[in-house]
Assembly symmetry: C2
Homo-oligomer: 137 residues x 2
DNA sequence: CCTAATGTCTCTAGTTGCTTGAGGTTCAAG
DNA sequence: CTTGAACCTCAAGCAACTAGAGACATTAGG
């Protein structure tokens, strides 16, 4: 039996976040001590670690909810889990591509300013005037 | 004199977002028609376009607020504007690097599953067991 | 000039994934 | 038995909007 602080240290998930996950229904309400404090089992720790790991990989909570649901039915086909992972990979790749566009543009703008005063600042001019840009965004 | 819908179409910023920016003090409250509707000047359009462009580049609103303040004092040194742009570029690069780490890991996980059933699913196993990972995250 | 359609007004609440705080109770060590 | 840390609930705050309700304004067509 672990207190909420115990599983927080074990999983790296902060205490208020654990309570928040419980509120969302991602983890089931654990047993309580006689004084109404949460007492977790080893299974609860595993489940929370799963959530933590998935969050570190950037998966949104509703995808995690679905993965948890799947992992509770070991006999089901795992195509759904693969699909969720693949969809998320796609999202991440799109996000990277978009950020790389911004990176190029911002790099160009930020390195293009050789002015001293705000009046001639290329950064500010670029922001004012979209036509100074190379790419779409 | 432009209505809020006019400048929305001109800048691509949605109507409720314009009102939201006014509420935050990013744009000054415009004049009003006799019937209490907002009426904007050409200067307001420029300012809003500036904000839009900066948002498209991913700058947070408080950085934009600072850039707007700078651009109103043309005699000041523009080092601050350059610094804001450079700092944001750094943030973007870090975000890209972090996402690329996730991409590699998720790619590995997602392509490593050749199981049929959830019980043997490599995706779910990887999420349960952090030690199956190659990199930190 | 009237009417209908569209635009605009304010205000509130919802989104995602938490974090922070207030005000109070319980637990564990000494 | 006391003290200090950990825990409890509930509410609100963060970024950056978006969505909806219910009411008023504007404008184009007839």
């Amino acid at each position: 039996m672990f207190s909420i602080g115990d599983i927080s240290r074990r999983t790296g998930v902060k205490v208020p976040t654990i309570r928040y996950y419980e509120q969302l229904g991602l983890i089931t309400p654990p047993q309580r001590s006689s004084g109404n404090q949460r007492r977790y089992s080893a299974g609860d720790v595993k489940r929370l670690a799963f959530i933590k790991h998935a969050r570190e990989l950037g998966l949104p909570l509703d995808a995690i909810r679905e993965l948890l649901r799947l992992s509770e039915n070991p006999g089901e086909l795992c195509a759904d889990a693969d699909r969720i992972a693949a969809a998320h990979l796609k999202v991440i790749r799109e996000r990277i591509a978009s950020l790389q566009g911004l990176e190029r543009e911002l790099q160009r703008i930020a390195s293009g300013c050789s002015a001293e005063h705000v009046r001639d600042c290329y950064v500010l001019q670029s922001l004012s005037d979209h036509s100074l840009c190379n790419e779409e965004h």
